[in-house]
């Protein structure tokens, strides 16, 4: 069983391959950060007294930046359904949320001892949780990111649950930091000076960062991976500045430098994500417009075709009616004119043959010479059809699952026509799931052998199911449930499958949706059948 997520090639920062320009830009940012570190080291312990008033501005900037980043990542998760992205989004939201109590409890900013009834340890406890928590979430993302994507139902519910859990967690943390009393670790020895115990925090966080950087350096695949690498590096530099260069002294130049570089790195990442998202949106809009144009073109071609078919059939039909009328009138005269009447009947016969020829030529459009038939692998056929429709599937937010049993025989047939059938059935299934919001949109395509040795291919959706009113007319011409449908698709599908000696039928699927199945004779039987025919 293979699972094809509806997202394979790049449409998102988490799936897009980084280009050379991306890599160079990321490297440039890293160099600037390192250079800034080197420049700041000599002045690190200069104390900037009175700079407390800048802390709320810094905290708001970080909170907004991290919240937007989290929102962007959650929106990517809602489409791609990757758990790794969920974890990363939670990490960013956690970082954003902890900044709020951190700033509020900071001594000497909003109040001499901090708001919320903070004690000496409150701010440091919150800061420690953030310092260690964020790299931990990123590390989890890095470890999860290459796992296969399970079909997650209701991403929206998952996202809101996560958001609620993070906010609840941060509230609990704040309460603990304020009212924890003796339980709290003694990180600070004064409002500005850290205690020896604090060293454990940056060291632990640095270990997570280094681990994350190491794994990302090896398994870096996407634009998001690349920029997370930069974020972790910036985070590491910030830790280094805050904990070691500034000697733990709050509001020193080194302390502020760490803050500012961290903010700069976060902003760059946010800008890159926004830029990617906007570019991808433009590309998506263009692709949709292009697809729309193609559809309109196809539709008008079909309309022109059907108008021409209608004219071709109507012409002899009309002339038959008129000839029959004329014939009756010749016979009804007081002196029946038999030669005129028989001429009229003769014309009716030739008109009938002419109408028949029109029908034959239409039929031949949907049928191909069996001489060109070749062995076709059904598993390959399914993979190709899934590939051809993956853009539509992604756009419809449908997860596609394919399953074929191992030793499937090849069938003799027309590869292109069979492809057409599968693509048509897949497109129908995607359309049927358009209005589904309360359950997973799942398209299941499977192939197996039945007891008689025939190959059965099933296309099952979790959509609306078959309309009972259409029962029996599903495969007839001009039967359609789509506002702009021609009602020819299933008719053509069935005629192709029947031309291959097979059958196509549909039934409702439990608990939801419809399943279309077609049976094809396996190649050996097929050759026998055509040989005897």
């Amino acid at each position: 069983m293979t699972s094809v997520p509806p997202d394979e090639p790049g449409s998102f920062a988490s799936t897009l391959q980084p280009s050379r320009a991306h890599q160079r830009f990321a490297l440039l940012i890293l160099c600037i950060l390192v250079l800034a570190l080197a420049l700041a080291i000599p002045f690190a312990d200069v104390s900037l007294t009175g700079s407390e008033i800048w802390l709320p501005a810094y905290a708001s900037a970080i909170t907004v930046s991290d919240t937007i980043t989290a929102a962007l990542i959650f929106s990517a998760f809602s489409i791609l359904r990757s758990r790794a992205l969920l974890v990363l989004g939670i990490g960013y939201l956690f970082a954003a949320a902890t900044t709020v109590p951190w700033a509020l409890t900071f001594p000497g900013v909003f109040a001499a001892d901090g708001l919320l009834g903070a004690n000496l340890q409150s701010t440091a406890v919150v800061a420690a949780a953030k310092r260690v928590g964020f790299p931990l979430f990123v590390l989890c993302f890095v470890l999860l990111k290459d796992r296969p994507v399970p079909a997650t139902a209701r991403p929206r519910v998952v996202i809101w649950t996560s958001v609620a859990a993070v906010l609840a967690g941060v509230c609990a943390l704040t309460w603990l930091a304020v009212d924890g009393g003796a339980l709290l670790p003694r990180f600070m020895q004064g409002p500005q000076q850290v205690a020896a115990l604090w060293t454990a925090v940056p060291v632990t966080a640095a270990v997570f960062c280094v681990a994350g950087i190491a794994v990302l350096a090896v398994r870096r695949k996407s634009v998001l991976d690349l920029w997370l690498l930069v974020v972790l590096a910036a985070w590491l530099i910030e830790l280094f500045m805050l904990a070691f260069v500034s000697g733990g002294e709050r509001f020193s130049l080194g302390w502020w430098a760490g803050r500012v570089y961290g903010l700069a790195a976060a902003s760059v990442v946010l800008l890159v994500l926004l830029w990617e998202t906007t570019t991808l949106h433009i590309r998506l809009a263009q692709a949709v417009a292009a697809e729309e144009r193609t559809r309109t073109r196809q539709l008008s071609t079909m309309e022109a075709l059907s108008a021409s078919v209608a004219h071709e059939v109507n012409q002899p039909l009309s002339s038959m009616v008129t000839n029959a009328d004329a014939g009756l009138r010749w016979l009804d005269r007081s002196e029946p004119n038999l030669s005129e009447a028989s001429a009229a009947f003769g014309r009716i016969i030739s008109d009938g043959h002419r109408a028949g020829q029109v029908i034959t030529s239409i039929r031949s459009m949907f049928r191909k010479d069996t001489q060109e038939w070749a062995p076709v692998s059904v598993a390959g056929l399914i993979d190709e059809a899934v590939l051809l429709t993956q853009d539509e599937a992604r756009f419809a937010r449908v997860s596609v699952v394919t399953a074929s049993s191992g030793d499937l025989p090849a069938v003799i047939g027309d590869r292109v026509r069979l492809q057409q059938v599968l693509v048509n059935l897949i497109a129908n299934a995607l359309d049927a799931m358009h209005a589904v919001n309360d359950r997973a949109r799942l398209l299941n395509i499977s192939a197996e052998r039945d007891g008689g040795g025939d190959l059965i291919v099933a296309v099952a959706d979790t959509g609306q199911g078959l309309d009972p009113q259409l029962d029996g007319t599903l495969f007839e011409p001009f039967t359609t449930t789509k506002p702009d449908g021609m009602g020819m698709g299933l008719l053509i599908c069935r005629s192709i499958i029947e031309a291959h000696g097979g059958r196509l039928w549909a039934e409702n699927h439990t608990p939801h949706g419809a399943v279309f199945r077609f049976a094809l004779p396996a190649s050996a039987q097929h050759q026998q059948a055509t040989g005897s025919a």
Binding site: S319, T322, N323
Partner: protein, 208 residues
């Protein structure tokens, strides 16, 4: 059903439709001339009989509706019955506005076509009759002397003999003589009859 002989012209590019229409129309005693292209109809030597044109909307080279407009431009006042395989409402509306008698969608009921054709022929016969009367009037009018034409204009304008005589500075008795000549030459039975004839001629002059 038709007083006197009449002819129906069928223009359709489809030979089998053309043959079936001809047969149907001949079966009720109509003369038929069938053409594949509008140009053939225009070039044909058509008999001088009341007639009707049965036209397919979809024609080679020129659509039936364009052809209808060309006929109007050439002053060919033949009634037209349209038949079409793909009639839509805007198309039939514009055809009817341009003077078509009927717009039939294939396949049509034979009686509908025959009714429309008979209506067309009757209309054409009436139009031809009116044209003939008018031509007679014109010929008679042309035979009047300039002085008689002058006096006729005054009579129909409601002038009395005395006024005409004063106006033209001639004797009233001379006016009376001219007036009698005008009534005789124009075959007018009464003064109102003469006024009607003058009206018809006036219409003709305005149209020209």
């Amino acid at each position: 059903m038709i007083p006197g002989p009449a002819i129906v012209y069928v223009v359709d590019d489809d030979a089998s439709v053309r043959d079936s229409l001809s047969s149907l129309l001949r079966s009720v005693g109509l003369q038929v001339m069938a053409f594949a292209r509008p140009a053939d109809f225009v070039d044909a030597d058509r008999p001088d009989l009341p007639g009707c044109l049965v036209l397919d909307v979809r024609l080679p080279g020129q659509s039936g509706l364009e052809f209808q407009r060309s006929l109007a431009d050439w002053n060919v006042a033949m009634p037209i019955v349209f038949i079409t395989g793909h009639g839509d409402i805007p198309m039939s509306v514009s055809a009817m506005k341009a003077g078509a008698i009927e717009f039939l969608t294939k396949p049509f009921r034979d009686q509908d076509l025959l009714d429309a054709v008979h209506k067309g022929i009757a209309g054409d016969a009436k139009r031809r009759e009116e044209t003939a009367v008018l031509a007679d009037d014109q010929a008679r009018y042309d035979r009047l002397t300039p002085r008689e034409q002058e006096i006729m204009a005054q009579i129909v304008a409601g002038q009395l003999n005395k006024q005409i005589a004063a106006d033209l500075a001639i004797a009233e008795v001379t006016v009376k003589a001219h007036r009698a000549q005008v009534m005789r030459k124009m075959k007018a039975r009464s003064l109102p009859d003469l006024v009607r004839i003058a009206d018809r001629l006036g219409d003709l002059r305005r149209k020209a």
